[in-house]
Symmetry: C2
Subunit: 760 residues, 2 copies
């Protein structure tokens, strides 16, 4: 059954009915972002129905005082919280003194579209007011990809029947409170209001974190020659335009606005720079700006697009995922990262999870550029000091680094002991990303310049985190939480032990490589870290003796010690009305159950594909997948990829669907809170690493292409060694079009092929 809420379209998201129950969901789905700022698709004009107003500025946060039931040593006292920012999009309208409020007027026609090809959001509404006046409004909005600090709105109110006095009042408003605040504190302080001609600006600063932000607007009536009447209140400034319209006449406004902030400007320059930017925009003109912006999106799509033939819902979904990923993170600024809700909501504090390294890096690396991928790595390098501090807080010494579970500025932003202190496998993903990047890009400079220090800090953490078990005569890792957060404080989580072992080996090995190939770097790093050969040897020794739980009888790696003591009923036998279990079961019941929230052992099989035979993969997939409830948005994609590797395209496609339309079809009934941005990269991986089977095997780019039977064909591009490689998979077979300058060797279904540079 097709949803009537959102129409299917290859390039657009379309809502063509007004349903107040869906307003919050649509505010999430139609969100806009340009990497530097973004906001939910709130109506410009006043709306008194249920709504979640949200505007966000990349990198700007508030350190909210921690709220816990019971304090544990090691918890951070403050959390960096995603911050709801001043509103620059607001445009109030009143017609014959009645506010235009879609919750109060009669809506005769409603349509909104998110045009993903051009990065543009439009809305058309026809309405009848209480006094019988009929009218329509049309709004077009985009956030410039070219100018991160600039957004633009084209806003038209037309009278369709009757005559009316129309007042249109664009404003900027700094009096904003977070929905998500621990103690209901205000997060912003208003500092200054500035007005000149058609330009107005507020300067506000965040409390405690002291980000200075200028929120500005430049408004211009294009339908009438009217100057704005400027109204100022405590934290708000508005431009009022009033006129009388006859039926068929309209009032059209251009509004330019956005944020400039102190991460990028001197405080004293904020308002002047905003004024300059706004005036330049106005001089350029709305249409020209939009054209340049659309052009920037075309450039993105040129590489990032995946075309699917024969399945419009899938086509729409994959583009929605790619679109949102590009809205969230542009990769231009190594201080920023990919928040789990991007600019679409404020649930979860902080902006950076292990999602970035485990799920997002491959997408940005293959569709944007090495620089972007390297910026993501460098983000963690820049926060290494904080990771060391974090580990010290927990009792580790000697430059051991534990990266936070959730962070904005390098400090931990999460306070559940079983997660914050125990879900330490995140450290592994951060090291793995360095390996993954180096393997894919063949960039040999990152590790000597930055990566090795991170690897050393991480290896030191693992070396201290293990302990020696006399009965097992092995190193063990006690008290951890694996990727499957439905188990807490377990001993010897296989995935954690496996990736820890790998980290220790990889760090030792890379130290040796850097010592040989980049002597100067190595000397600098040695001075900084006091690394010795003996220490690397010790890492290797621990790694070689690190315990991995295994059941001989079934030839199975066990998720953790004692896993087989559970009653292993498949999830398919759970009563449907008890799913998802995390909404129906008490926490202890979940913990005692065998159910797996997201890939755990299988996450290791995904990362370390070369280490396991197809038989082993099949055996572990058959054992663990039936116990997996996929209640994390990050679960289906890994299973889609592994199912495809096993040639099980039915499963692969089923999992793909779960990830691709997660938000559009609102599987988890939570899209109103914002989108699942990071899992969107998993959707991309499901196609590229799943269906197309892309991997780097022994250093060689390889594919195992399989076409889901529901599709006629699909095509995508990746950037490989700085050049595009196009992959076209049809029922007839797989075509590779290589846009590099020199021939390359790839593996296709295990067979070597040489691709010659494409010539038209």
């Amino acid at each position: 059954m097709k949803s009537v809420y959102l129409e299917e379209h290859p390039w657009k998201i379309i809502e063509s009915q007004f349903d107040p129950q869906k307003v919050k969901a649509s505010e999430s789905i139609f969100s806009l972002g340009n990497g530097a700022m973004g906001q939910r698709a709130n109506f410009e004009e006043q709306y008194s129905g249920p709504s979640f107003q949200g505007s966000y500025i990349a990198g700007v946060y508030y350190p909210d005082k921690t709220r816990v039931g019971w304090w544990k040593n090691g918890y951070p006292e403050y959390f960096a919280k995603v911050l709801n920012a001043p509103n620059w999009i607001g445009i109030d309208v009143s017609i014959n003194k009645q506010p235009l409020d879609l919750h109060l007027v009669e809506v005769n026609h409603f349509r909104r579209e998110l045009d993903m090809k051009n990065g543009c959001y439009t809305r058309e509404v026809q309405f009848t007011l209480a006094d019988g006046t009929e009218g329509q409004l049309k709004s077009i909005r985009f956030l410039s990809l070219n100018e991160g600090e600039l957004g633009a709105i084209h806003y038209t109110v037309e009278i369709l029947k009757g005559q009316a006095e129309v007042e249109i009042t664009p404003y900027v408003d700094g009096g904003i409170k977070n929905e998500d605040a621990n103690w209901d504190d205000p997060f912003w302080k208003h500092l200054e209001t500035f007005n000149t001609g058609n330009f107005s600006a507020l300067r506000s600063s965040t409390l405690k974190s002291n980000f200075d932000v200028c929120t500005y607007m430049y408004t211009e009536l294009v339908s009438h020659d009217l100057a704005p009447e400027v109204d100022e209140s405590a934290t708000k400034v508005s431009h009022r335009y009033t006129t009388v319209l006859q039926a068929g006449e309209n009032l059209t406004l251009h509004k330019y606005g956005g944020y400039l902030q102190s991460m990028n400007h001197q405080v004293a320059d904020l308002i002047p720079a905003a004024q300059q930017l706004a005036q330049k925009a106005a001089a350029t003109g709305w249409e020209a700006l939009q054209k340049t912006h659309a052009q920037a999106w075309h450039t993105i799509w040129e590489t990032a697009d995946i075309q699917i033939d024969g399945d419009v819902a899938a086509q729409q979904a994959i583009r929605f995922n790619i679109f949102q990923l590009n809205q969230t993170y542009s990769g231009k600024d190594a201080r920023l990262n990919i928040g789990p809700k991007g600019f679409t909501g404020e649930k979860y504090g902080g902006s950076t999870y292990w999602d970035t390294e485990a799920y997002c890096l491959p997408f940005y690396m293959a569709t944007k550029s090495e620089t972007v991928a390297r910026n993501l790595l460098q983000y963690r390098y820049n926060q290494l000091d904080k990771a060391i501090e974090n580990a010290e807080k927990l009792g580790f010494r000697n430059w051991a680094a534990l990266y936070p579970m959730v962070t904005m500025n390098g400090e931990e932003c999460h306070n559940e002991w079983e997660i914050t202190f125990e879900e330490i496998h995140r450290n592994g993903a951060i090291a793995y990303a360095i390996f993954n990047y180096t393997r894919y890009t063949a960039d040999e400079s990152y590790i000597p310049e930055m990566g090795l220090e991170v690897l050393i800090g991480i290896a030191r953490f693992w070396a201290q985190r293990v302990s020696f078990s006399t009965p097992k005569n092995k190193y063990v890792m006690l008290g951890v939480t694996g990727p499957n957060e439905y188990e807490n404080n377990v001993n010897n989580n296989w995935y954690t032990n496996y990736i820890a072992r790998w980290c220790l080996q990889y760090a030792a090995q890379q130290a040796e490589v850097v010592a040989k190939t980049h002597a100067a770097d190595f000397e600098r790093i040695q001075r900084k870290t006091t690394l010795t050969k003996a220490e690397c040897k010790q890492w290797e020794q621990i790694a070689s003796q690190l315990y991995l739980p295994y059941d001989e009888a079934q030839q199975l790696y066990l998720q953790q010690d004692g896993f087989l003591d559970k009653e292993l009923l498949p999830a398919s036998e759970l009563p449907p009305n008890e799913r998802p279990i995390n909404q129906h079961w008490s926490w202890d019941r979940i913990l005692r159950s065998p159910y797996i929230k997201q890939a755990d052992v299988l996450q290791g099989f995904y990362f370390f594909a070369d280490d396991f035979s197809a038989d082993e993969l099949q055996r572990h997939y058959d054992f663990y997948e039936p116990l997996t409830v996929h209640e994390s948005s990050l679960s289906p994609c890994v299973h889609a990829i592994l199912a495809a590797r096993l040639g099980n395209m039915a499963d692969a496609y089923r999992f793909y669907l779960q990830t691709a339309r997660l938000d559009l079809d609102d599987y988890n009934k939570e899209v109103h809170e914002g989108l699942h941005i990071t899992s969107m990269a998993g959707t991309w991986m499901s196609i590229v690493e799943g269906f197309a089977g892309m991997q780097i095997q022994q250093g060689i780019l390889s594919f195992r292409p399989q076409l889901p039977k529901q599709w006629k064909a699909f095509t995508f591009k990746i950037l490989y060694k700085k050049a595009p490689l196009e992959v076209q998979l049809t029922t007839a077979g797989c075509q590779f079009i290589w846009h590099g300058k020199a021939p390359i060797s790839i593996l296709v279904d295990g067979e070597q092929q040489t691709l010659q540079p494409y010539t038209a």
Copy 2:
């Protein structure tokens, strides 16, 4: 080194210097209570230095909205919180218009005493005011044991030098806020103020829980013939008396006050009943009231006292423990229980922990009466419905009962999943207390009347809580927290499995007994619970197959699965500056460590002494005690008892000291928050069950008396089969003086003795 803060004295706690740094600690130590109400030893007059003002009414609570960092299904939304009550003790004094505030005046002499023999608190202060006036105040306060709703203060201000206008203003104040409040909400609503003559009263009600409380006072100047000038403000009413005193003259006030509350009175009667009570008190007169009150204490001491010869510090300490236990709980009201801080502080919500059954019951049972002990059991019986609801919340069915970890009214008051959902052994202690009571008192009526229903609910919980492990071919218990809270979410905690097994067997066995001996009761219970023989059989079957972790090599029961994988360094090797570890280590480090907060396996050896040989006890004591950090106040007593059983009197005495003077010597640097009431019962147990070795063995009262070498003798009494048995242990041997009517048989060091009734 002796502390100079509190002087040693066999019957008194004495502080003879004024140290503002100690005010909060002394407020705890000198607290008064009479089972129905109590308060910290706050000064009557204004005090602007650091102080923790606290008055409490037994049974009156506020359901505070839960505060957690991350919500888990199954958490309660509200907690019953111990409630700071209106103040009835306040007496402001001003001399020549300057407030008498010990923080602001010069204190020349200061002494306070808690007279435990007579249940009376006195304070004497000499001071010099800024204007040179010298004076002294003397206050005597007690809370009547005979009238739970009555307290009395004798308050004198004398001028020593100069002449002064003295104003003395006793008041009652309902404008009280809790220090411990999750959201800073007000807990009280003021309803009414009533004044007539020397009597004033406030009526307030608690928000949400709607307890109506009348806080009253009756004031009377005994030195002068003056009527009070009554001042009323929003939530406060005061009586002002003003006069001029010459040097050597004094102003003396009697103040009677306290609380009447809606658990015990009709709301409309509260104020009239208070007035009647106050007038009766005033008519009786201060001295007569105090005499009757002291008499009531003498009666308590007659049975409860332990005399120690040759160690004043120990004598003072044991009396302090016994005194506070009697102040906290009188046993008259089955709706009340023994809060961990009694009336001395408000840390920890709720009033009832497993401490009651595991530690407190033996004390009250042996020093008060069967009725008191039975009231403690009945408290849980009355809350059985709530325990069933609580289990249902966690997914249990069919009348399974999980008693809350912390409670006031039967509902859970704690929100840490690892405690609330997993520290389920508390259910075992509640069943054990029924057994313990029945064994000691030989009362065969409690189980058929009430106890069996509780046992059934508890057995059903265990039967559902276990799961079957195929590899072990046994029932296992996954995901629990044992008594040692430094381990969370472990599998097969030995103590929990052991007591669960015992509960299943005991419930099945008692069902059989009741069926035979109390057919009518059994039929009623069957109707109510649908219990069948098959179900009892199933309990026995689960019990017989319940897994107990054991290490063959060392012949050791293991605290939990995998315990030997830890690095088992004895606690004595920990750096002293890292102790207590819960103040210095992160939570994950504590969890990974082998360190034991309080007796865990050994708690089982204490409860089920008959099940283990002396060798087994020695082996387990030698293994577990060195890993125990005793960071719970409930830890040393169990170890004292076990050490004594092993004949290790050096250890026994060392542990005894840790528990006996815990608060007086403030070992944990937290006495300012309140006293450790429930662990005080452990002190009593250390002497009676430890040094005197009292046990019921195979139904026979038995002793293994040992005198610590630091003492010359000790003597105590227990009520056994409703009559006092006096035990006198000297270096010469042990004497038993039996005040029952018929001879009894006891075991002394394993030898049977017959005690003849004592005749003078």
